[in-house]
């Protein structure tokens, strides 16, 4: 297989659960453990009861110059896979062969030191990411220009705003020229303008014949940047297919089919605190939860959540997306300025934010609902672009007398007038 950049062969990764891994241990704990339970040793054999497979028997190839997407829910093993391929952690079983230098964007800004200036951090970070000094020196001007922090380049980065910091960090990473680029969700950073720039940079990389492994929850970015995608579910690879197919599969499987999605504590990232999403559901005009609606009837969306503490300036909203990840609209419960003023501080308690997608808007097909709870420019508490999928049936919609699919995501009922011109 001469043209494969990455060959992954039956890789598995087992993690220990319970006592040891994430927690810091102290001698005392170890001593107590050893005394009370002499058979359990920190470095003892892992058994099925005290460990789980974060990745199980994963095999795939990536051809040189190909961009491969990796999608799956939180905890499906995406990040573990990237960590193994970038050699941060070792697989428990299996092997992988990688042809070429791997540049990893698992997190931008790794190794940045707050006391050093922007320029010094460029050199340091470049070295950490595997760039040679002369390479960095050659690209220095380009990196500084890309980061848009020229004026502050000789200021310690601890005085940077978080936006400047991210831009500088990304600029260094974006100027790596590895044969294989590993990217994990970096698109989530920065403002819209900067994200556009990053996406542009990434498609440049892909079009230069370099191999890209791209993990994201952003389906539209996956569709735009990759040709092929693998879907992971609970550590197992469920499919490897052309991206459009894989994304459609991902969005339509693994979700509740009842028009309802519930979040349990395990699904909620720790930084969502104090926002606790509970459930999102879609209801038909009879008030019944359903997963299929008629294009001619309104769809009511209810998002139930709890605030463990008051939040100022909170907005809770929904996204509507196609199964290909294209955004159709975004709407927040406090879009109306008067409501926003009234609810400036949302007290602790349980809430339901409810809205209705009017009748005669959606075309037939499958739609994805996402949720977002954030404070503008301050913090995004919770965000899930694929909370729920529902179907829309076109029966009775305008134009259904012709049995042909209508192009487009929406099918609004417009009022036409026809007049004969004299």
């Amino acid at each position: 297989m001469p043209n494969n950049s990455v060959v992954v062969n039956q890789i598995g990764k087992r993690y220990r659960i319970g006592a040891a891994p994430a927690q810091y241990r102290t001698f005392r704990e170890t001593l107590i453990d050893t005394i009370t339970n002499p058979k359990k040793r920190l470095h003892g054999k892992m058994t099925d009861s005290n460990s789980f497979w974060a990745l199980d028997n994963i095999s795939f190839n990536v051809a040189q110059g190909q961009a491969l997407g990796i999608i799956g829910k939180n905890g499906a093993g995406k990040s573990t896979l990237l960590k193994i391929l970038s050699r941060v952690t070792e697989p428990t079983t299996g092997s992988a062969r990688i042809n070429g230098r791997v540049g990893s964007l698992l997190e931008v800004g790794t190794g940045f030191h707050p006391e050093l200036t922007g320029r010094e951090n460029i050199f340091l970070n470049g070295a950490i990411l595997g760039m040679k000094q002369h390479e960095i020196a050659r690209k220095l001007d380009e990196i500084i220009a890309f980061s848009e922090v020229e004026t502050f380049i000789d200021t310690p980065v601890k005085r940077y705003s978080s936006g400047m910091y991210l831009r500088l960090a990304f600029a260094v990473a974006a100027h790596l020229e590895p044969e294989i680029l590993v990217i994990d969700e970096v698109l989530a950073v920065g403002d819209a303008e900067f994200q556009r720039k990053c996406l542009g940079k990434m498609s440049d990389v892909a079009s230069q014949g370099r191999t890209v492994l791209f993990v994201s929850h952003n389906m539209s970015a996956i569709v735009r940047l990759t040709q092929e995608t693998i879907v992971l579910e609970k550590g197992k690879m469920v499919m490897q297919a052309p991206t459009a197919e894989a994304v459609d599969y991902y969005l339509s499987h693994g979700f509740s089919q009842e028009g309802l999605r519930t979040w349990t504590a395990a699904d909620i990232p720790a930084d969502a605190e104090p926002f606790v999403p509970a459930e999102i559901r879609v209801l038909n005009p009879q008030g019944v939860i359903s997963d299929t609606f008629r294009s001619t009837e309104p769809v009511t969306v209810e998002f139930e959540y709890r605030l463990a503490a008051p939040i100022t300036g909170l907005r809770v909203g929904i996204y509507l997306l196609s199964t290909r990840g294209e955004f159709i609209f975004t709407s927040f419960d406090v879009d109306d300025t008067e409501t926003f003023e009234r609810l400036r501080v949302r007290e602790a308690g349980t809430y339901i934010s409810r809205c209705t997608i009017p009748a005669d808007i959606l075309n037939e097909g499958r739609f994805v609902l996402g949720v977002n709870a954030s404070v503008f420019k301050i913090k995004r508490y919770f965000h899930d672009e694929q909370s729920l999928v529902f179907n829309v049936d076109g029966t009775g919609a305008p134009g259904t007398q012709w049995p042909e699919p209508r192009a487009g995501l929406i099918r609004p009922k417009l009022s036409w007038t026809i007049e004969v011109k004299e």
Binding site: P21, S86, R87, I98, S104
Partner: protein
Amino acid sequence: METKNAEDTVQTFIQPSKGWKIVDLKELVRYRELIFFLTWRDLKVRYKQTILGVGWAVIQPVLTMLVFSIFFGEFAGVPSDGIPYPLFSLAGLLPWQLFENSLRTASRSLVTNRNMITKIYFPRVVLPLSSVLASIVDFFVALPILILMMVYYKYSPNIYALLIPYYLLLTVVTAFGVSLWFSAMDVLYRDIGYIVPFISQLWMYLTPIAYGAGMITDPRLQFIYSLNPMVGVVNGFRSSLLGVYNGLPVQSMLFSALISVLILVSGLIYFRRMEKQFADLI
């Protein structure tokens, strides 16, 4: 894991590691720029936003020397092998502080650079190594003070001063070896952060810095005492610098080297064994 260089591309083979290879020197050579930059970062950052800056590298040993000279030298009259006490203690303090600074920074180096370890691959041994390298610079900053003191007390080194680099190397090797143990254990047990300052304080009293090794006369005790690798190193450094030797101290040179290398090799083996779990456990 093994990496080999083809004509133009790097091929990496990833699989669960086994075997007893203790350190991949070829890989370290490829990562020499990273070692350089991390050392440079440690140096650059160490005295940022301080008034006295690099002056601290001089102030610490000099003040310690003053306190030692007053209390141990003057009041207690601690024997100093016939050398003026201030010179005696400073000549012991400099290699000791090289050792202690290396140990203190290198032992914490993995945990303080946690975010690098969990995100990027590089030979982990680079972190304690560059901390040790950065400490060497402090030593050379303070060295002129010692030379001035020698001039003041009219001490001139003899031919055995050529042994100084040898003992410095042993200091660094020992510090690096102990740091390998401590830094790898630090990943698992955060106690190490509390233990290291305490251990190094005790260790200093077990090393002939404030007093001369000649104080210990019982041969059995002498042997146990000399198992402390820093005994031979500090004595050797001081004696070769101050012109005490008048014959090559072959026996003590070899013995010190043996202990230092043992610590280094065992440290490398332990580090290697733990290394693959760092990213998961840190």
